[in-house]
């Protein structure tokens, strides 16, 4: 599989405040995002996840090194629009990314900016709204919708650009459990049914469980990188970096410390329950013998 985003020796520091030294957010970072993959980025507050995400579509430019999107350098002015339409971005607060007070007008914003002909915009808007399951709400005012619905409108607004990759920066942080579920389901469908590359930044470990890849960020670099099973079994490392592990892993880890013979990589609730049931069964069998 080819890579859609490539970061080479990426360094970045925000402009320093007066009289202070610029503290780099990250230094010499190398990273690839494979086309069609579902990557979840986790890490403690302030470690630079949002900053990294903004490098992916040239909202921020590297202070050192390069970021390439489908081979285009993000610091090249000429291909700026090309990059932004390839990598769409959804932010935390849906209220602050919706521009119009009619849902369909908002979804049309990106294709309008790209100069897409009206008939084609219509098609894209309807398609995007249907994908996120908000078609019936196309004539509503966004401020009357729930948080989860608003966030799905924001996702539709990005989809209407027809990006190849969508980066979501804590899209569920402001939502209640139901809204969170709606949004996560939408994102998953995009990846599975449409083959869209997804980069999801989150603090909710449950959202990371069925990703293709989990990236653990911290101390200006990548602490761990691999499949959810590979990453979450490194409980000590994650705890040392102040990162939660999924509740299932936490449970298994504690039980294991108490002497139970359990695998740490049973991530989903079902797998976890099954592993514990099995362990209990072997225990009783052993005691009966």
């Amino acid at each position: 599989m080819s890579n859609i985003i490539t970061a080479e020796n990426l360094s970045f520091a925000y402009p320093p405040q007066e009289g202070k030294l610029a503290i780099p957010v990250f230094e010499n970072l190398n990273l690839e995002i494979a086309e069609g993959s579902f990557t979840v980025v986790i890490g403690p507050n302030g470690c630079g996840k949002s900053t990294l995400a903004k490098q992916f579509n040239a909202v921020l430019l590297p202070s050192g090194g390069k970021v390439y999107v489908l081979g285009n350098d993000t610091s090249n002015e000429q291909t700026l629009l090309e990059i932004r339409r390839t990598v769409g971005m959804v932010f935390q607060n849906p209220d602050n990314q919706i521009v119009s007070n009619v849902v369909e007008e908002d979804v049309a914003f990106a294709p309008e900016n790209l100069g897409v002909p009206s008939a084609e915009i219509r098609k894209r808007v309807d398609d995007a709204l249907k994908t996120v399951g908000m078609y019936e709400f196309r004539n509503h005012a966004p401020h009357l919708l729930s948080g989860g619905q608003k966030q799905r409108i924001a996702i539709a607004g990005v989809l209407a650009m027809q990006p190849r990759c969508i980066v979501l920066d804590e899209p569920t942080a402001m939502l209640d459990p139901r809204g969170r579920e709606e949004v996560i389901r939408t994102i998953r469908t995009l990846n599975r049914a449409r083959g869209m590359t997804v980069v999801l930044i989150t603090h909710h470990m449950s959202e990371a469980i069925d990703a293709d890849r989990v990236l653990v960020f911290g101390n200006g670099g990548i602490l761990a990188d691999g499949s959810p099973r590979e990453v979450f079994t490194q409980v000590e490392l994650l705890r040392a970096a102040n990162i939660d592990v999924p509740q299932t892993t936490a449970l298994l880890y504690e039980l294991k410390r108490q002497g139970w013979d359990l695998p740490l990589d049973a991530l989903s609730t079902e797998e976890c329950a099954e592993a514990i049931a099995n362990a209990l069964l072997t225990q009783t069998e052993r005691s009966q013998k």
Binding site: V59, G88, N96, V99, F109, V125
Partner: protein, 269 residues
């Protein structure tokens, strides 16, 4: 509490008037206002009133809705009326002549026309906002003013600003409500004290409101950039404004109104 505020209220509908191109409606309102200011006699005022009543009845907007919109402006209307009554002098003998107050018949007529004119003016513009969504209105204004781009008027930017302002009014009102509740919970008192104290009590509301508005603006700007916003250049529209047969009829009605008023005026009727 603050949620009840409505700005440029819009009553969605699907009548002929609702369906008209926003540009047509904007132009018609201008024609209507010109006709109103050219009107001089009972007959011509009657013509303008008939035009308004016709438009209102086609659009299913109730007279009550039009009149209720006038409530906040009642003081101005009454005050203008009184001024006209007391300050117009006629040639004939005053009807009332008491102390320093002299009221002439001409004054009563002038006041009547003035009040009628203001009320017709307000209801006409209200009818526009009642039947046109703010977005359509913005689109219409942008299209009508686009020739001004030639003399470097930032028409697209103004329209965009208006659109975003409309979008964020409900959000900011909601936020103000929240801040007021939060400050009340901390023991802030907005209801007692003299005017000065009450004005001072507003500071802890306005400061967080402004801080949050700036943060929102910053995030919105980033989100817009991420969606490829780069000014009005090369921009297309989801809904292209198009004049239809209805618009031709509406324009015809507008021309008839204006012609009627001008004819009545030249013949001094």
């Amino acid at each position: 509490m603050l949620k009840d505020i409505t700005l440029g209220q819009y009553f969605p509908g699907n009548t002929l008037v609702h369906r008209l191109d926003p540009r047509t409606k904007l132009i018609l309102v201008v024609v209507y206002i010109v006709a109103l200011f050219l009107a001089k006699s009972f007959l011509s005022y009657g013509l303008v009133l008939a035009f308004l009543v016709l438009a209102a009845s086609i659009s299913h907007i109730k007279p009550k809705a039009l009149l209720s919109g006038m409530k906040p402006l009642m003081i101005i209307i009454v005050f203008t009326g009184l001024l006209n009554i007391f300050y117009t002098t006629g040639d004939d003998a005053p009807i009332v002549n008491w102390w320093i107050i002299k009221i002439y018949k001409a004054g009563l007529i002038a006041a009547f026309f003035m009040i009628l004119r203001i009320m017709l003016l307000i209801s006409g513009t209200f009818l526009l906002t009642y039947t046109t969504s703010p977005i359509a209105l913005t689109d219409g204004l942008e299209a009508l003013m686009s020739p001004l781009k030639k003399i470097k008027v930032p028409v697209h930017e103004l329209a965009m600003m208006m659109c975003i302002a409309l979008r964020f009014i409900p959000t900011l009102i909601e936020e103000t409500d929240k801040i007021i509740s939060a400050q009340k919970a901390r023991g802030a008192d907005f209801e007692t004290g003299n005017l000065f104290r009450r004005a001072k009590a507003l500071v802890p509301i306005l400061v967080p409101l402004f801080v949050s508005a700036f943060r929102r603006a910053d995030e919105l700007a980033t989100a817009m950039e991420c969606r490829c916003y780069h000014g009005g250049e090369g921009r297309t529209k989801l809904k292209v404004l198009k004049y239809g047969k209805d618009d031709a009829i509406a324009f015809l009605a507008g021309i008839l109104l204006l012609a009627g008023v001008i004819v009545l005026r030249t013949f001094g009727l």
